[in-house]
Symmetry: C2
């Protein structure tokens, strides 16, 4: 059987050739690991994903959660899948051995998780959200909160959610209206409405722990007045047993275009004035807490987009190999047999573009996970700081680039299947619908572009940016020893040089308070910056492919890598120069457009 979720050869290339996962086993935290233990975890992930997650992906799409008597009802296949995930320990893949975790590097745990994301985005969301909520409590909760809420989450008995968005405020968290009043006993009473809360109700777990953003009575206006609360679906008694239902009402379900397996809920907190919550971290520091945990979550979202793209790529690749249709253009003889469509140049283009998008973004996602490992396990504080600076800078790209371009990959997968691709008898249309969520949730493309240009670039006096430029220059230098790679290196060098100049100019504008003009075309900047980063990662992959070719084995694999690198660096990267020209000119076509002119 051909691989459906991801290419294990490509995964091994990333882990053991490009990103040197084995080097991590030299670090104390991962000293008990080895390539063998990494591979064992990956094999388990693949097995469970194939056995429990993939089979109900379509069924979950066709039978979205139903609102029944105030509860959300899921199809029965979800729970055994999630249970198998929990039982195998993936919820705690990164946690310490001594709390029952696998103590895996994030690089490996993200790679494990990728299998589930490719197999079934909807079902995978439940443990994903639980991991995010658990991490918040682990980082910022009191010992009591950890005992009562984190521990049962680690045990897989409680699940979690992130409850940020409110109907009137959308992306503008500044304007949330949910309130939390001190109850006098150390707890709070919350009141407010949240929407688009994924996993906001289900019967997969004994309890659901909502991580809710709300404002205290004395809160300053704006984002600096937002606090973070634990609000459980069922109250928890001091001995850890379940108490009565909390005043959290499932107001309704959203019916989405895709990603239908995950309940998307509207939740009312405190309709009856009895919604009990517990402050996490310091008052008014809720958004800071949330953002501190955001890097890993956004890697996860980016990887989710990659994996939907990857699954579509592999499916359309196999289809193109099997499907005979038409003849090559220099053969018009209808008596000759039809060729598999993979032989048509335009089909190769659509496959090569998909390969360039998904394998480029897959590399970046794992590179970011590797950086995350460095933030807490690199040899010294300086190296850890550097890793964090670079990761902070890259996070908007890690989240947004796959969301845009792996969606495009899914569009191409449909096109390769033609009319069949448009039907629900084949899986690629679902990947496309599922993936359309990724440019929206966890910070839209627009939010990411402002985060990058308006915040991340200038952080720490641009230390992350300087580091990135140095790393790209280093890759280009190494590439220059491979004459074969000249035509790949040069477009990257041209882009990075121009991008650097544009960046300095825009930061200069921001420094002078010309904010509106500098940020007006942030979408162009996000795209050009993203292409620069992915182009860099492809050049890295190409260098490793050149090295691999010298070893003599796996020749086809490495030649494919070089061809995909060539596609991305010569077909896609040079296309960014018009974006940069518009940024250089501070083009005001969009900024200057008036509402009345539409």
């Amino acid at each position: 059987m051909s691989e459906q979720l991801l290419s294990s050869r490509n995964l091994a290339f990333e882990l053991y050739e490009v990103l040197d996962a084995e080097a991590l086993t030299q670090r104390p935290r991962f000293a008990e690991h080895s390539r063998e233990t990494f591979d064992a975890a990956l094999t388990t992930a693949r097995t469970i994903a194939e056995k429990y997650f993939a089979p109900h992906n379509r069924k979950a799409d066709e039978n979205e959660p139903r609102y029944v008597d105030g509860r959300a009802e899921l199809i029965p296949e979800v729970k055994p899948a999630v249970d198998a995930f929990l039982e195998a320990g993936f919820l705690n893949a990164n946690r310490d051995f001594d709390v029952g975790g696998m103590q895996l590097p994030s690089l490996v745990s993200q790679a494990c998780f990728a299998h589930f994301q490719a197999a079934n985005a909807g079902t995978t969301a439940y443990p994903f959200l639980t991991m995010g909520a658990a991490n918040l409590i682990e980082s910022f909760g009191t010992e009591e909160q950890k005992r009562l809420f984190l521990q049962p989450m680690i045990e897989g008995r409680y699940f979690g959610t992130m409850a940020l968005t409110e109907p009137h405020a959308g992306s503008s968290l500044t304007d949330i209206r949910s309130r939390a009043e001190p109850a006098g006993d150390g707890s709070y009473r919350l009141k407010g409405n949240k929407i688009f809360i994924s996993g906001g109700d289900h019967e997969l777990s004994e309890n659901i722990v909502h991580m809710v953003l709300a404002k205290l009575p004395d809160a300053p206006a704006g984002v600096k007045g937002i606090s973070l609360f634990i609000v459980p679906k069922y109250l928890v008694n001091p001995d850890g047993s379940l108490g009565p239902r909390n005043d959290v009402l499932l107001a309704g379900l959203f019916h989405k275009m895709g990603w239908r397996g995950t309940t998307s809920t509207a939740l009312n907190f405190g309709d009856n004035g009895q919604c009990v919550g517990y402050l996490v971290g310091q008052p008014h520091q809720g958004l800071a807490c949330m953002f501190q945990m955001m890097n890993e979550a956004r890697i996860g979202v980016g990887m989710g987009a990659v994996m939907l793209g990857y699954a579509g790529y592999l499916y359309s690749l196999e289809y193109a190999r099997q499907r005979p249709q038409g003849r090559l253009p220099d053969n018009k003889d209808p008596h000759t047999p039809a060729v598999p469509i993979i032989e048509h140049s335009d089909v190769k283009r659509m496959l090569l573009a998909q390969k360039a998008y998904v394998e480029g973004a897959f590399d970046l996602g794992l590179y970011a996970a590797r950086l995350f490992d460095d933030t807490h396990t690199a040899a010294d504080a300086e190296a850890r700081r550097q890793a964090l600076e670079l990761l902070d800078l890259l996070t908007p790209i890690v989240k947004s680039w796959p969301s845009a371009f792996c969606l495009k990959a899914n569009e191409l997968a449909i096109q390769i299947l033609g009319g069949h691709g448009y039907t629900r008898e084949y899986p690629v249309e679902q990947y496309y619908r599922d993936n359309r969520l990724n440019p929206i949730h966890e910070g839209t493309e627009g939010i990411q572009s402002l985060d990058l240009l308006g915040r991340k670039l200038a952080q720490n006096n641009g230390a992350g940016l300087k580091q990135l430029i140095r790393l790209i220059a280093g890759t280009c230098e190494r590439a220059s020893h491979h004459p074969n790679l000249d035509t790949l290196r040069q477009p990257l060098e041209q882009l990075v040089n121009r991008l650097q100049a544009v960046t300095l100019a825009l930061l200069g504008d921001l420094g002078q308070g010309k904010v509106a003009g500098a940020l007006a075309n942030s979408a162009l900047y996000l795209k050009a910056f993203g292409h620069c980063v992915i182009g860099w990662r492809w050049l890295e992959q190409a260098i490793h492919a050149e090295v691999g070719l010298l070893k003599g084995s796996d020749r086809d694999f490495y030649l494919g890598k070089l061809q995909a690198a060539r596609y991305f660096l010569t077909w896609e990267v040079p296309g960014c120069h018009n974006d940069l020209a518009l940024l250089e000119a501070r083009d005001d076509t969009c900024l200057g457009m008036q509402e009345g002119w539409f």
Copy 2:
């Protein structure tokens, strides 16, 4: 109420400012028409589209046709809508007064039809397919065939389909296997299976007339051995009354991602050896017949893509005007009220891009319809020939460009609505799903690119191309009298000059038999050529906007046109230079990719 289907101001701009519809009333065929009769037809179309088509667009999506006892069952709202369409005479909008038609120019009838396409793509397909089938019989059928099949179609009693695609052959019509044996009485017995036959079964009409491609026993191999047949669902007696059911079996329905209101069927012809068909036109000339009718059908498909884009644009525009969220980037004061999102530069970008795509493509579609009118009503044979040459050349663009870029517009409409746009509580996600069909059916993007580069360019010694280049040069010359338009004209001139050189080089290669290399990157050529054409149409619109501005009224409308033209010509058109560079270099990245390397 804001307009939902299309902007009537923009339609008037196209008809009466850009394309001079009134000039058509000078022609004998349209002499009884006037701007008033045109507008009356348009108003009727809008009224019926709003009253009968739009209201069940979502319901039809949620309740796709069901296969019940060998029949396809539709929701009850479809028939009254189609009946209202028929009753108002739109099925015969172009036909002669003396057969009960409206004798409208195609320019106006396409504009009428556009309202239905925007309101409900699924329901509109039934009359659309019937019009195509009727036109085929009108052009190539015998008098007897016209009496028995065309006349009841004109009366709206019979509907029609086009049955081309077969399971194993897909786009490669060369390889169809359906057979037709002479029965000795002048009729034929057909045997074969067809898939993706839209409107292949329903109860909207007394009968369904399938226009089927099949091969005669003595057929030469390949596309020159394909014949066209009438195959009715119910046989028709010589007196026009319905006979028994023909041997056409509804084998099943396809379940699509979108466009769900239209049945997509698998039909088996002749499972019992009793499938009666009637040859239309000459033996082995079926594909030529089909293609002769293709221009108007492909304008229709292109306009369908435009109108889904248009409906999404208008919806997201209205949403952006109404939805307050966030503040402008130079105002961080959370005490100030949120602004409507249309004030954010990135939202303006997404609206401006949609406007540029949908209004650019709308103009091209209507321009093509105007050319179609010229093919049979221009003053002399030479003018008619020229119109046909240009229309033939433009048809792949008219079909494919909106299919690609108005889908992109729909993607942007979702993004503007954010999480809401991803839910089925809002209409934009359906437009996106519906529109995803357009790059596939009636000739995929890949087929269109080969049609353009491999066939249309060289037709008639490149007469169509020369004409297009002359027309673009003429527009640029007129634009040069408006200094305001210099920055719009120059990118178009640069693109068209380079495109012309690339075209000659590629045609040279084709002339020398270097077919595989010349056609390898046809997708890039299609995109660059399309952008050149749309850029030209935007420059035309910009000139008319400049003229309009001088008149002093409707200032906002004209300024919006100029800004959209600026967006397209400065943000999008220069982006094609990398495509042309790859074509100039005969880049073989895709062609050279090997199956084993993936």
